[in-house]
């Protein structure tokens, strides 16, 4: 599983050049507005999200590998929703009734999901994680939370490497983690226990090192410099687009 969120942060594009503070704020506001949209307005918003993604020059494979997890959820939703949601029957096959509202809700949800994911991937995949966290810190995220994010991102990779190593060791001893039962749970508990204890001991060392360096909260700095006029123009464009879309939706009586 690839955990390198910022592996395409080195690319050169309009979106990469957009200041992370205004980029994250602008795209988040637009994403939030999408949760209110439906019908034609939603289709336009999806198209706009795709344009933003295309402008970022991030590879399509980067996006595709990120929709694998929720794909399972949407598969379950696709099986369930059109048959239980709404009143108007569309197709009746024996005891199963395919309902118009359910099918509509499924399509709306899938479009909203895709648009928001595209915006999220673009917002956080186009700068280094440290820069994104600094931007969030500048946007008002508390210092402790920002530090927690930076440390966690670092530990995720180390813990992930340890898990892969332990998994290999467990396999070499002839045990498969794809089993259920008391023995499997014992092995999984031991595996998590070793991850926890090793992590805890590592955190003690980090704490000592932090003490020696006279660490104080808010070690994660805010983003440096000020966004330029073009950065603010991008933010204003996103806010105006979001407000206009929501107002149009309200006028149509949807959402």
């Amino acid at each position: 599983m690839t955990t390198e969120l910022d592996r395409f942060s080195h690319l050169d594009s309009v979106i990469h050049g957009w200041d992370p503070r205004t980029r994250i704020a602008g795209l988040f506001v637009f994403a939030l507005a999408i949760t209110r949209l439906s019908g034609t307005l939603l289709a336009v918003a999806l198209a706009a999200s795709m344009v933003v993604f295309a402008l970022s020059r991030l590879p399509a494979s980067y996006l595709v590998e990120r929709v694998r997890w929720p794909g399972i959820f949407f598969a379950a939703l696709a099986v369930l929703m059109p048959f239980i949601y709404g009143d108007r029957p569309l197709v009746v096959v024996g005891p199963l009734v395919l309902r118009e509202e359910g099918l509509q809700l499924l399509l709306t949800t899938a479009c909203r999901f895709l648009s928001i994911v595209v915006l999220g991937v673009t917002a956080f995949g186009t700068s280094r994680v440290t820069d994104s966290v600094r931007a969030l810190r500048s946007l008002g995220v508390p210092a402790i939370l920002a530090d927690l994010m930076l440390f966690t991102y670092r530990f995720i990779h180390e813990t992930g490497r340890e898990l892969r190593g332990t998994r290999t060791a467990v396999k070499l001893r002839g045990f498969s983690l794809r089993k259920t039962g008391p023995r499997a749970l014992r092995v999984i508990s031991a595996l998590i226990g070793s991850l926890l204890v090793r992590g805890w001991e590592r955190s003690e060392e980090v704490m000592l090192a932090m003490r020696l360096r006279a660490y104080s909260p808010g070690g994660s700095r805010r983003a440096e410099g000020k966004p330029n006029l073009a950065d603010f123009a991008g933010l204003v464009l996103c806010v105006i687009a979001a407000a206009a879309a929501v107002l149009a939706e309200l006028r149509q009586g949807g959402g």
């Binding site: 599983m1 994403a31 929720p70 239980i84 939370l145 927690l148 966690t152 530990f155 955190s203 704490m207």
Partner: protein, 213 residues
């Protein structure tokens, strides 16, 4: 148990962020009262990372498979740090794998984080009143299983509030039953794993069970 983007309306997303803001503020205020509060950050980060990585371990539960949540264990080990740690873990799950979502981050943090805080409090009260290795293991099971149960109840409540109106009442009852019953194996698995974790940590690192006291 993570609600993806696009499922909930804007009002729920904003409400979720507001509730998460309050819970984070309360947690951070409690953390800040300690003299060396910031030194707990690496500890909380490690737990958030383990929480994140543990979701890669899939346990087959016929006919599908489930992944560990470990919010009860986070509450037991981290105390007040549990909520911010879960929030950060969920943020990375959302931006790295779209497991959960950015607009639903607030709602998901409440669904996972509040039961973690409850489990942490319950564990401390219960082990203070009824200590001993055997009882601590029992409380570990209780906290692990009940935190999942509370999370499922909260998830169900959110889904019913925002989708319930347009579903036939009898179908809605069936869906709620299926949703809850399908999580019973996860409750038991989390209970067993939290119990064995608590037993193990009591032997090798008992200070890990102080919950950041």
């Amino acid at each position: 148990m993570h609600i993806p983007d696009g499922i909930l309306p804007a009002s729920a997303c904003v409400g979720g962020y507001a509730a998460t803001g309050v819970a984070t503020w309360l947690s951070l205020r409690r953390i800040s009262r300690r003299g060396d509060a910031e030194l707990g950050i690496p500890r909380a980060s490690v737990m958030a990372a383990v929480f994140f990585v543990a979701s890669w371990i899939h346990i087959p539960v016929f006919p599908v498979s489930t992944h560990l949540v470990l919010n009860g264990l986070m509450g037991v080990v981290l105390g007040a740090y549990a909520f911010p740690a879960i929030l950060v873990g969920l943020f990375f799950q959302a931006v790295m794998f779209q497991h959960g979502g950015l607009t639903t981050l607030g709602v998901n943090a409440v669904i996972m984080g509040i039961p973690a805080l409850m489990a942490g409090c319950a564990f401390r009260i219960l082990t203070d009143r009824w200590p001993g290795t055997r009882m601590t293991t029992v409380w570990g099971f209780f906290c692990g299983a009940s935190s999942i149960a509370v999370s499922v109840l909260m998830l169900t409540a959110v889904l019913v509030v925002f989708f319930g109106g347009d579903i036939d009442p009898s179908t809605e009852e069936d869906v709620v039953d299926v949703l809850f019953l399908s999580h019973v194996p996860l409750m038991l698995i989390e209970g067993v794993i939290t119990a064995s974790m608590v037993r193990f940590l009591r032997k090798v690192h008992p200070e890990m069970l102080d919950g950041g006291r």
